[in-house]
């Protein structure tokens, strides 16, 4: 089912808008993540799609039909809550079969379908238990089975994995992606964990203070962040930022000056303060690239396949990865560098990206089809 949100506004205190004039289109069968820091309105958006909250202004369309006044029960959606929200007085089987019971599905078929849903999430051996006798991961599976049992048109996931441990999270991530693909169901995931959003979603809507800042594929968000906020938010470890000055086509960094190609970058004749962003993975030891940085080593962390090294450049910390067998001492001064094509520039005042559209497009495509 195609979901469209048009000019949605929602306010809880009449003064400020929790959701401010939001537009969002989710195509049939698409997996979309709403990503943002806590309190940015992503759960509110989801609850409006579910029909729990009514938007103050604007319209919500399901397959072209306005559903603003449709009750949640008539919207044909399944939802997994952060707290799982299982019914504690019912057994696992009854929990899963509950949505079917409300649809007045005959008992035999109900049980058959509930069992099939339980099999999908590997719960068939726990059907007789009460939710309180299950572990967090198992409870989460019950919630997922309950959400998909009535074959809804839309699946809503409200931070479904935030209560699971790291290992279980990865397992559930794969499981949810698999089920979503098998059922071909339109899915919306609310999360504050950018890694979760990046690995699972087809497209991500990054939200901040009730507004969508950028709505794009994970790769686009990673390689072409529209502004400083997105660049900061997406990617682990986070992007490194250095303060720089842009004058004509010259970028002045603490220890180097780089000439930029005006085909790819926007700049004017005035001097502009900029944030220079470089992904940790793009920085290499040595002076091979044309953008280079000099700094003192302040931290060396071994992460198995490589070493993560923090370098102090002026007042900023810059992280990069080095081969695990290279020996680097604390306090030593080293030089690291990268290519001009790997840097991001953001206006320090407006936060806007100064990269012109078209740059790196080829690179993104290459990565997508890899």
């Amino acid at each position: 089912m195609k979901i469209e949100l048009r000019n949605i506004c929602k306010s809880f205190n009449k003064k400020t808008n929790t959701i401010d004039n939001m537009n969002l289109t989710i195509n049939d069968g698409e997996f979309v993540a709403l990503l943002g820091p806590s309190g940015c309105g992503k759960s509110t958006t989801m609850l409006m799609i579910a029909g729990i909250y009514k938007p103050d202004r604007g319209e919500i369309y399901f397959d072209g039909q306005i559903v603003n006044d449709l009750e949640p029960k008539d919207r044909n959606i399944g939802m997994v809550f952060q707290s799982y929200a299982l019914y504690p007085h019912m057994t696992v089987l009854d929990n899963i079969a509950f949505p079917l019971k409300q649809q007045k599905v005959p008992k035999e078929e109900r049980i058959k379908r509930a069992k099939r849903a339980a099999e999908m999430v590997q719960l068939e051996h726990l059907l007789g238990r009460k939710p309180s006798e299950l572990s967090g991961g198992q409870q989460q599976r019950v919630a997922l089975a309950r959400a998909i049992v009535k074959r809804p048109k839309v699946l809503l996931l409200d931070e479904p994995m935030s209560n699971l441990d790291a290992r279980l999270k990865i397992e559930m991530r794969e499981e949810i992606s698999r089920i979503q693909r098998e059922l071909g169901i339109t899915t919306i995931l609310v999360t504050h964990d950018q890694e979760e959003a990046m690995t699972m979603a087809d497209r991500i809507a990054v939200m901040k203070e009730g507004q969508i800042i950028q709505y794009d594929t994970p790769m686009e968000l990673y390689y072409n962040p529209k502004n400083y906020f997105i660049a900061q938010f997406i990617g682990t470890p986070p992007m490194n930022f250095l303060k720089g000055k842009l004058l004509n086509n010259q970028l002045h960094l603490p220890n180097s000056t780089v000439e930029l190609d005006c085909e790819f970058w926007e700049f004017n004749r005035k001097e502009t303060e900029v944030h220079v962003g470089i992904r940790p993975y793009d920085l290499k030891l040595g002076k091979n690239g044309n953008v280079y940085i000099k700094g003192t080593v302040s931290m060396v962390e071994l992460v198995g396949h490589s070493k993560m090294i923090s370098v102090k450049v002026g007042n900023e910390q810059v992280r990069f990865f080095a081969e695990p067998n290279i020996s680097i001492e604390y306090g030593s001064v080293i030089e690291i560098s990268t290519q001009t094509s790997s840097i991001h520039l953001f206006d320090a005042v407006t936060g806007r990206s100064l990269k012109k559209d078209g740059m790196n497009k080829g690179l993104v495509k290459e990565s997508v089809y890899n």
């Binding site: 029909g51 949505p99 939710p131």
Partner: protein
């Protein structure tokens, strides 16, 4: 070997002395408890003994075992020149009174509590504050006003009239307690029900109510007990023997200080207490677990 022997001895000594220390604290605690509860226990014991004997010499030595005091169970008893109403009639009335009170109170309280806990309406805060204030009113202060109203409605000298009055007086507290239980039910569970295909009413009835079962149990027990022990309203607004309840029956026995039959009074008191004791035995488990659940870590 000797060394080991010495060690065991010393450890046993340490253990026994620490054991004694523990015991002493227990003994002191229990001693204080026994001393303070003894008078109450003795009073009940006196009640039991005096109901089975003709009289108590010097007030505490039972003389002559008899079942005469329990005669009211099988015959109509004469007291102070008039016939007392049948005890079974009074018992039945007491049950009807407490039972109806409980049912009304739970139904209204559960609905009012939900509205207070979960809906936004103008004046909600003010209403919650006045509810507590209402409970602070002693029912004696309202006796005359209530009399006029009952008389006007033709409900004077009827059990139903008193049931309504008592319910009205109890509802604020019941609704307040129930509201606390509803507050503990997470919104998520309710929303999940709505999304799973229930209407708001159905969610309330089939998901939220089962979660607050312990609260409903507690409130029903309390209202039944308060109905069973109600005296003032029943005594004031009910005159006819046919509508008498156990508490008023008991009052009839002591209304004339010169004619009190203490043996019979004890027996009737015990009879009045008995259902409450039974009730407690069966319901104390639900009284103990007063918390609602849902969500994670249920």
């Amino acid at each position: 070997m000797e060394i080991t022997g010495y060690q065991t001895e010393s450890t046993t000594m340490v253990i026994s002395s620490s054991r004694w220390k523990k015991r002493i604290t227990f003994i002191i605690a229990y001693g204080v408890l026994v001393l303070t509860t003894l008078p109450i226990i003795l009073m009940y014991l006196w009640l039991l003994v005096s109901s089975f004997f003709e009289k108590m010499k010097f007030g505490f030595i039972p003389v002559h075992f008899t079942l005469e005091n329990w005669e009211f169970l099988w015959t109509n008893v004469e007291h102070g020149g008039s016939m007392l109403p049948s005890i079974w009639r009074a018992t039945w009335n007491s049950f009807v009174f407490s039972g109806t009170l409980t049912i009304l109170e739970v139904i209204i309280g559960v609905m009012a509590g939900y509205a207070l806990a979960r809906t936004e309406f103008p004046g909600r805060q003010a209403l919650m504050k006045t509810i507590l204030l209402l409970h602070a009113f002693p029912s004696v202060a309202l006796l005359i006003a209530v009399f006029y109203i009952l008389n006007f409605m033709g409900l004077f000298d009827s059990l139903w009239g008193v049931v309504l009055v008592k319910t009205a007086l109890q509802i604020p507290m019941t609704a307040w307690i129930i509201k606390g239980f509803f507050d503990d039910v997470p919104w998520d569970v309710e929303w999940a029900g709505l999304i799973d295909g229930c209407s708001r009413f159905k969610v309330w009835f089939s998901i939220v109510l089962p979660l607050i079962k312990p609260g409903i149990a507690a409130v029903s027990i309390f209202s039944f007990l308060s109905g069973w022990s109600e005296f003032l309203l029943l005594y004031t607004f009910i005159l006819s023997d046919e509508n008498v309840t156990l508490s008023s029956y008991l009052q009839k026995l002591i209304s004339d200080p010169n004619m009190v039959n203490y043996g019979m009074l004890s027996a009737v008191s015990l009879f009045y207490m008995f259902p409450v004791l039974l009730f407690f035995l069966f319901t104390q488990k639900s009284l103990m677990q007063m918390s609602a659940g849902g969500g994670k870590g249920i």
